[in-house]
Symmetry: D2
Subunit: 352 residues, 4 copies
């Protein structure tokens, strides 16, 4: 067993759901180097179960997250690394909706207009984890179509800086409601630590979502989540970053959307310069030609965009001294042990 | 020859370059169903040839386009279809630069700031069309890396509505400086016709560019362009659209960036509803989960974003009654004839 | 008569209305030092005369301007000074309206939304030039109230740079549809000259408008306009500026609105530094504490904001070597001559 | 004494300063109908006392507020009314500064750019409360000028909704760092109550500031504040509102700036319709012609704009059943008693 991380099992119960980042006592501890297994509820707290359950009627609060988890040893100025080994739907159905005065193609409380709200409508999707597909069904007419299952967590973050407590609806430098499809299994998320213990929470699983999440709601479902946790001491992280096996990603959260773009590109340019030794303007040029960019959400209190570059373009440079590769390898070792050896636990439950 | 389009060869000369859309006499005519072969200069009019040629010193104007070409029979309310059969670098080098007060990570004339301009620096790339690669070289230090060649046209448009004449730097509903990497060979671009003859022009080739074109300049190079032209009578198009063999794309051009996002998503929702018979809110939901989105540029007078959906999600629905497939098949027939039969002309020249 | 300007009378006829800046032949000439007397139609071309005349039904085009007028001797790099001696309603009624998908509190073609348009409604105002009041009447219910008459021109501009031709709906560095209540009689407007002869046009009179013009339409009416014209040789002007007897004003036109703010404040800081000899950061500080700012419109293709500072704060410094004071004094001399001497003409007509 | 409010004296000490809204225990209680007398520190916590004290060096935190004060009986859904009887500089000097990467004409952490920060410079102003003037002094050169003293509080707010805790730097619907020059003595501020007791705090006095606060910092100084407190039961308030003797003001806080404009105008239209019985579109029209608008700040995490209308245009309608007039009259009564009778306390101290 030496070398394999210890698994912390956390069975989700109602009191473990919170609606803020910051200002809460931890529900459990996960040490650097350990793996956490837990579950998340959907953004409706599971209250929307049929197309007749209007969110504005059946929900009191939105977007619960599981947590916070305290990471002993994490201090302000460090970076928390969360490597997502598994993000697996816990139900065979997911829900989406239009919500009054929420979304990119409607007047909202900030883009205030004199129009009445668009109709509030709920859609139910089948989730087939075996086939790796979900099924869309129109509400008017009999149009249906399968879309690829692409599970992700919409909301992962730490306690904010400056003693702030932020609603779980908000994305910002502490993470939170990033709502980007890039946050899928196999990736590592890096978040700057603002308070002792980091105090991270996660939730808001989507069976999939489009880039920009234009109506404001993904295919919301409960998730089983397995995440390896580590802390990079003494290295700050200015905005949420993601690393995959082949790319580096910076995430900006702001309004207007060009500022989310600017933050993400600025960070990717700076990170690229740091990892390669390039002059900042040389890095600016390289990202300008080799970079990718896309919106995560254009509906939340801050919009998000990500900037990405292939590590191949950086001659294989990786972030934070290779922590992503190390966590990924540990995860594979753990998975192999579970499949062929003494499994430290099971995740076989289906949430109702 | 029956069934194959007639090829219009246009050899580019200096007077065929213009810097506006609208307000110019046509330089040639292309009939619906014909194929145009022409060339485009780079955004520096070819004046930046070494890293010591600073654009602000050696250029008087920027972003020349070849045209306008008149399409007899095109009338306001119709749609012009341009199917790009070939976009091929005409030089084995391309240039990029930072330009004073231009780009997303610098103060500009609109995002006005008290900072002095960032340094003006030029980068030269090798273009290897055989290998399908370009080579980046840092200006400070000896870092080099190969990036995939991905040729595109930054600027294609028609004469604007309302008797306007717009600088070729500007993207808007008439097309223009869209600066999106989606405008590559194999795609069809749809533009609403505003004046008799449509009066389209094209230019601003990039050997490649990143999404968002963050520094404001792609890998600029002259191009050989082959484009099949058609007109869809009586069908208007509200914003630039692209169709490929597997996806539909709508392009929004506006500031702030969320409005470019809104325009593109709104058009894709509307287009999806029209092609599938879905209710608009059902289409809104489908695009929300199945859609892709990315910025083209976040530096021009209007920013651009595109919204895309796979035609598979629409059960194979295609735009404008299949014009893209028809033009693509014609193009392949023409190509086969050229390769194995009596070629109507050659494109072998290299611009100097 | 020496010292008094010669008056150019221009009687407005239908063909003198245009809907663009740039690209038109001049309808008349006005020499530097001369005074022009002409008239302007309202933004509906006079076609909306009762509350039952819906603009979307009765209008083909919007926002006609009278012009262009050529100013011999004005060259690119010069500044055109227009001192408005009189802006006087030519009718005793004015019209306003909500227009489909236009205005700040509705989805528009750029802030694209899925809402249907708000209702199109027309309001008619009485204009009482003697009392200096206009009368608002609600359409539903019998609420009426008097508001101060504050006549202004919404649209004054010159031919744009770069051979562009812009719709008269658009405000930008060439002026155009600035839609600011600051452009009233007694002020001097400064515009950078882009083409020989400057080619200025004016129109879009409002009996008054609120700051920001939130519904998108002022109290539109035809105007009699008297304007003294001058050219400041060899002095460029980067954005529209206004001078009054006690303040300097810079106008920014852009989206998002913070960029219009930035342009206007940046120009006022720069102008302040130039007139006082202050270091730019000292001027930045002074404008930060002494400056005023307000939106003109938040509905046009570019939004406008102005930045203003009292000349008293600048120890009496005035723009362009005192041209405003000189034109104002000439205007007073002319007025005195008309009242007590040999009037060069009358403006007594009422447009129908 | 019947009819006159009881005065609560609160002597400011260091522990009474906080840097957040929400999440703190009250430092004192003020009953509805009582008057609070307290003091506020400047945004530098008094640490910037000469032009050589750079804020980035001498300050750990920014923008302390005095509070929170608990108002027994205030419940979520109620409105807190704060009538400012006095906002008086507590020092004869004030400080302003450019701060690295903060302000409207510089790259910031959200409008991220590759420029180095502008120079950090401090300006010191004399404050002469007797003359009602402050004195600006350039840092380079000997330019000085007097500006009118116009004391205001930049930051007044209540505990936010949704259990959030927000930095005192942030303006939003809970109030906070509104940074509007409209918040001067003689006005009543209305804030929606989110938590039992409202928990209001106040601070960030400016001897004056320009509209938009372009450099990001006003003329910061400590203040003596006297404020009458009341609660309007059962009446919610959607965004901060101000009432003066002659106008109603709504304040929007958002990015981009047009959304702050939209929020403020939307609220003023809605409020106007409610107070007059006008149809919402009739109110939209009336505000469009009679309304005023200006930015408060274009530098904070949310920008602010206000929308204002004269109560005369509303035929004298006032907000919340006349609470402003009632508080103002009580304030005058109290003042008269103090001047000629038994003063309940003195405000004569000068802070050092």
């Amino acid at each position: 067993m030496s070398g394999l991380p210890k698994v912390v099992e956390h069975v989700l119960t109602e009191p473990d759901l919170t609606y803020q980042f910051g200002g809460r006592y931890p529900i459990a501890e996960v040490l650097p180097g350990q793996v956490l297994r837990t579950s998340t509820e959907d953004c409706f707290s599971g209250a929307v179960r049929t197309v007749d359950d209007l969110p504005s009627k059946v929900c009191q609060q939105f977007n619960p997250v599981t947590g916070p988890f305290r990471v002993p040893g994490a201090e302000p100025g460090d970076t928390l690394a969360l490597h997502f080994m598994e993000i697996r739907p816990a139900r065979d159905w997911g829900m989406s909706a239009t919500f009054p005065h929420f979304g990119a193609l409607t007047g909202t409380h900030t883009t205030a207009m004199l129009h009445p709200a668009l109709p509030e409508i709920v859609w139910q999707y089948d989730i087939d984890t075996t086939a790796g597909m979900i099924r869309y069904r129109a509400r008017r007419g009999d149009y249906t179509v399968e879309l690829p299952l692409d599970p992700m967590l919409g909301t992962v973050g730490v306690a904010p800086a400056a003693d702030e407590v932020r609603s779980s609806i908000v994305p910002d430098v502490h993470g939170g409601n990033l709502d980007t499809p890039e946050l899928r299994a196999g990736t590592s998320l890096y978040l700057g630590v603002n308070v002792p213990g980091a105090m991270f929470s996660l939730g808001d699983g989507h069976a999939r979502q489009g880039q920009g999440e234009v109506c404001g709601v993904g295919v919301e479902t409960a998730m089983h989540v397995t995440v390896a946790v580590d802390v990079i001491k003494g290295v700050p992280t200015p905005c949420p970053r993601i690393e995959t096996d082949y790319q580096l990603i910076s995430i900006g959260a702001a309004r207007p959307l060009e500022d989310a773009f600017r933050i993400s590109q600025h960070d990717l340019v700076t990170w690229t310069a740091q990892l390669t030794g390039l002059d900042p303007l040389d890095a600016y040029q390289l990202v300008s030609q080799a970079g990718r960019a896309a919106p995560g959400n254009v509906c939340d209190p801050n919009y998000t965009m990500h900037a990405a570059i292939d590590t191949a373009v950086l001659h294989g440079a990786t972030g934070y001294g290779g922590v992503h590769q190390r966590l990924r390898d540990l995860a594979r070792g753990l998975l192999a042990t579970e499949l062929f050896g003494t499994s430290p636990g099971t995740m076989s439950g289906t949430m109702r």
